[in-house]
């Protein structure tokens, strides 16, 4: 291992600009003559728009234009789309309602845009927006997914009865039924996977500029995948042809999924920029972000697990209602189906699995991928069932897991996925040692002496990452391929630029991608730069989500590097008048086998461009290669998280006292960055388990719509974490990487709830397990115990 190669904890290149305040986030970009967009948004969850009166607003100082849904329709701007087709079990296609960037005729959630004011300043825009008069006729609303399909629920979209988008299933229902009939023990759980708001600290923003001279549009936006944004905005929304639209996602302040999607506001900024001839910028206020960023999770599930007399799992059955909100966001349909039910086998050999999912519309903000996306929901179902099952059967939860772990690879689950590598015992064993599970009994007694209830919870999770083989996802309904692209440009001086289709918004690609290049080419880390996020500079790429940038994005770079080295060898052969087959390349030096002839990297690079040593007929000048890498399988990161809590029985307050995580991510490029990803993921998972919840009241008002009421973990809500790694390489990509971005968020909620329920001795608890929730559960359990006595 070199100091800057694969496996080194290299300090990040990107940090210098961030710690000095010189990052360039979208809102930091200023264009001459820039105006500001301020949206007028519905305060009602469901209402007809009877009339919009913009007359007074239009006379306000600084107003450049006021545009409504009618203008959008007049200009034939297309709707936003969901790009993944799901078919119901009866074979019918999912029912996608139109999603205009500005509502016309009807609003379907609080925050739905009804008009936009373009003004010289944001303050003037706000003043004018306040003067736009909208007459609404309120309609009854439904926010709760469990009630959306009821007979008396209001129908949100015409022609979509029962608000049901699809009724999908996976697995063999009959075989599962048979297995349950033969079971010795069945564990049943009702689970609500609470609705979350991703809340990247940088609010979403968009800045659009139109150049009338060239008829080109440029969009700066907070995107995790600028090329996909450009494709959708041109091909479906029809704002401009793809080659006339440039999308730049500069520094992006966190995404966690919420910045994957194509949103109304960027469409409106582009449209308004062309209409007004002025650059148009929109930056979300936090309260606006709460009402417009896609939320996550929001499942209601009934799940059952069947065991035989030896604690072997026979089958799993789940029925889930997934809330997709008022409109179908870009990838929303795939989350509660192919990213959820396909992971219900967990780390276990489960012979039969059957899952039904109904996706429903409600009068709430659209729901789509949020860190983990479907996999945290699946892990929560599986890991709660296993833990509760063990407790019900009087077995040790770790033993029950071991009994059921998959030990042979490859392993075909009954729910599509074929796991290719892993060692689940190894991560469980290592985690139990690190967590000192042996000493838990003593710690529990110590806690009891202080009036505290101590509990320990496991989560042995698995996820499918490295998203994804294009052919596989295509057969499941995806509208795009999920390969990744890379271009490696070697300059005449030997320095290298990597252009990647991946996008970084905290992951540190400028560092890790350079580590790969430094290792492969043997050139100094400083001589490598990584470029991403600009469709004018970088070839088409698919962006960053689903822990795919290492497994897929870096594999593309590795493949392009192979091509670069092959070409450079040809150049070196001409330089040293040797045959190409005799050229060896190592540590940045080309040598002719069996001789002492050598050529340095920089020399070869220069010779590739000056082309003095070969004719054009023999070899094309230049040294630049592109690769589009399509993985052969998903990757399957897995591991074991152990959470230890202390619950104050007087107040119900839970404190996480220990956290141990042992993960198998395959090859690790930079352990420092990988650990950081795990920390952040755990924090979000703990947030879901203990603190966070997007709460809608029965009228569809979001009542936890600010950082005052939507509680995210702060520093004192979390402990320091104990981390460990095990390693089985992924066989499905050349680097053996599995991906690490989502593991924490996937593993953590079940570990926390398993620990709390262990501490308080009742399973009846919902997330977020706030002090009040835990206290009430304790009271109920005590009352039940007393009644029984």
């Amino acid at each position: 291992m070199t100091a800057t190669g694969i496996g080194a904890a290299v300090r990040r290149k990107e940090d210098i600009r961030f710690i000095t305040g010189k990052g360039q986030y979208t809102d930091d970009v200023v264009r001459p003559g820039e105006t500001r967009a301020v949206f007028v948004r519905s305060p009602h969850a469901h209402a007809k728009i009877k009339r919009i009166d913009t007359a007074e607003a239009a006379r306000m100082p600084g107003v450049v234009a006021i545009l409504t849904g009618a203008d959008l329709a007049n200009d034939k701007i297309g709707n936003l789309i969901c790009g993944w087709m799901i078919h119901s079990k009866d074979g019918s296609p999912m029912k996608m309602a139109p999603h205009p960037a500005i509502a016309s005729g009807k609003v379907n959630h609080v925050g739905d845009a009804v008009a936009v004011v373009i003004a010289e300043t944001r303050a003037q825009g706000r003043d004018a927006a306040d003067k736009v008069k909208v007459d609404y006729e309120e309609l009854p609303a439904v926010a709760d997914p469990a009630k959306a399909q009821a007979k008396d629920a209001p129908q949100i979209h015409a022609d979509i009865p029962n608000n049901t988008i699809y009724q999908w299933s996976l697995g063999d229902e009959k075989a599962v039924g048979d297995a349950f009939r033969g079971a010795k023990h069945v564990t049943r759980l009702d689970i609500v996977n609470n609705r979350l708001v991703p809340n990247a600290i940088e609010p979403r923003a968009a800045l659009a500029e139109y150049d009338a001279g060239t008829d080109n549009l440029t969009l700066w936006n907070t995107s995790q995948n600028p090329h996909v944004a450009r494709l959708v905005i041109s091909a479906f929304v029809g704002i401009a042809p793809e080659h006339k639209l440039r999308v730049i996602a500069p520094d992006v302040g966190g995404g966690f999924g919420s910045k994957i999607f194509i949103y109304p506001e960027e469409v409106v900024c582009l449209w308004a920029a062309r209409k007004t001839g002025r650059p148009v910028k929109w930056t979300a206020e936090r309260s606006e972000a709460f009402l417009t960023d896609a939320h996550g999770r929001d499942h209601v599930t009934h799940a059952e697990m069947a065991f035989d007399g030896d604690g072997k799992i026979l089958a799993l059955r789940a029925k889930t209602i997934a809330n997709l909100g008022a409109y179908m966001s870009t990838f929303s349909s795939s989350i509660p189906t192919y990213l959820y039910a396909t992971l219900l086998s967990g780390q276990y050999g489960i012979p039969q699995i059957y899952c039904e999912v109904d996706a429903v519309y409600t009068n709430t903000v659209p729901v789509d991928a949020y860190r983990g996306a479907g996999r945290p929901e699946a892990t929560f179902v599986v890991e709660r069932l296993v833990e509760v099952g063990a407790r019900e059967m009087g077995l040790d939860p770790a033993d029950l897991r071991k009994r059921n772990f998959i030990k042979q690879f490859p392993h075909q689950t009954p729910v599509i996925m074929a796991y290719d590598a892993g060692d689940y015992n190894a991560s469980l064993k290592k985690a139990m040692e690190l967590a000192d599970v042996k000493g838990f009994g003593k710690r529990k007694r110590d806690s009891a002496r202080h009036g505290k209830l101590r509990g320990l919870g496991y989560s042995t999770y698995i996820e499918a990452c490295g998203i994804a083989p294009s052919q596989a996802v295509g057969s499941l309904g995806a509208g795009v391929g999920l390969w990744e692209s890379a271009e490696v440009r070697v300059n005449p001086t030997g320095s290298v630029e990597v252009l990647t289709g991946s996008h970084a918004h905290g992951q540190g690609h400028e560092t890790t991608f350079a580590q790969l290049v430094s290792e492969r080419l043997g050139i100094p880390f400083e001589n490598i730069s990584v470029l991403h996020g600009d469709t004018d500079k970088v070839q088409f790429g698919m962006g960053t989500y689903g822990s795919r940038s290492g497994a897929v994005g870096m594999s593309a770079i590795a493949q392009a590097l192979d091509k670069v080295i092959a070409k450079a060898k040809k150049v070196a052969a001409f330089m040293m008048e040797a045959s190409e087959g005799d050229i060896e390349f190592k540590d940045g030096k080309f040598t002719v086998a069996g001789t002492d002839k050598s050529a340095a990297w920089d020399d070869v690079a220069l010779n590739a461009y000056i082309a003095h040593k070969f004719t054009g007929a023999e070899l094309e000048p230049g040294l630049k290669e592109t690769s589009f890498y399509d993985p052969t399988n998903f990757t399957f990161p897995a591991g074991c998280h152990i959470c230890e809590v202390e619950v104050d029985s007087e107040t119900g307050r839970t404190e996480i006292v220990n956290w141990t995580a042992v993960d198998d991510f395959g090859t690790v490029i930079n352990p420092m960055i990988v650990e950081g990803q795990v920390h952040g993921g755990i924090a979000q998972g703990v947030g879901q388990a203990l603190l966070e919840g997007a709460v809608y009241d029965k009228d569809g008002q979001l009542v936890s719509g600010s950082f005052m009421d939507y509680s995210m973990p702060r520093a004192h809500d979390l402990p320091s974490f104990k981390l460990g790694l095990t390693e089985t390489k992924s066989p499905s990509n050349p680097l053996g990487i599995k991906g690490c971005g989502e593991a924490g968020a996937i593993a953590a909620p079940a570990a926390v709830i398993n620990a709390i329920t262990d501490a308080i001795g009742t399973e009846q608890i919902s997330m977020p397990a706030t002090a009040q929730t835990v206290w009430s559960a304790l009271q109920r359990a005590n009352a039940a115990r007393q009644a029984a006595e």
Binding site: V40, R41, S42, P43, H44, A45, V110, R126, A129, D130, K131, K133, S287, F290, L291, D697, K698, D699, Q701, L702, V703, G705, S706, M708, D709
Partner: protein, 149 residues
């Protein structure tokens, strides 16, 4: 976001006097906290503008107020809805009933209100307190008006 509130106040005046004042736009305007305008459109309809501040959200509400279920001099239902622009909306009603008591009048009220938009999003934890304070202020003012203060 829905909320309910009930209460009663003892007023030092006869039921008829209280009833008349409850129907007097000028008295109401003086008593409603933050009321900037209250114009009588008919005997049972008013146009109102009121400013209120709930937590971080301050808004000027414009809307109509209706009187229904009139039962002079025993009570009525007063209801209204206000549009607070970007702050959202508030609507609701109060059943007010009057009864003779201890030589004066006992006024009982039963409020049901609903808020939406930014008000609900940012102000919901504070809205019950704010509404209670508004009702208290109103009846304190009203009691003062009734006693000729």
């Amino acid at each position: 976001m829905a909320m309910t509130m009930t209460g009663e106040v003892q007023l030092p005046a006869a039921k008829e006097t209280v009833w008349a004042m409850l129907n007097d736009a000028n008295v109401l305007k003086a008593c409603i906290p933050g009321c900037e305008e209250l114009d009588k459109l008919s005997d049972t309809e008013f146009k109102a503008v009121a400013v209120s501040k709930i937590g971080p959200v301050k808004a000027r509400f414009k809307g109509n107020v209706h009187l229904t279920d009139l039962d002079p001099p025993n009570g009525y239902k007063i209801s209204g809805e206000g549009d607070g622009g970007v702050a959202g909306f508030a609507k609701g009603g109060a059943t007010v009933s009057l009864a003779d008591k201890d030589g004066g009048t006992l006024l009982t009220y039963n409020v049901e209100a609903q808020i939406g938009g930014k008000l609900a999003q940012l102000g919901q934890r504070l809205v019950n307190g704010a509404a209670k304070k508004m009702a208290d202020d109103f009846f304190a003012n009203f009691a003062k008006a009734v006693s000729g203060g």
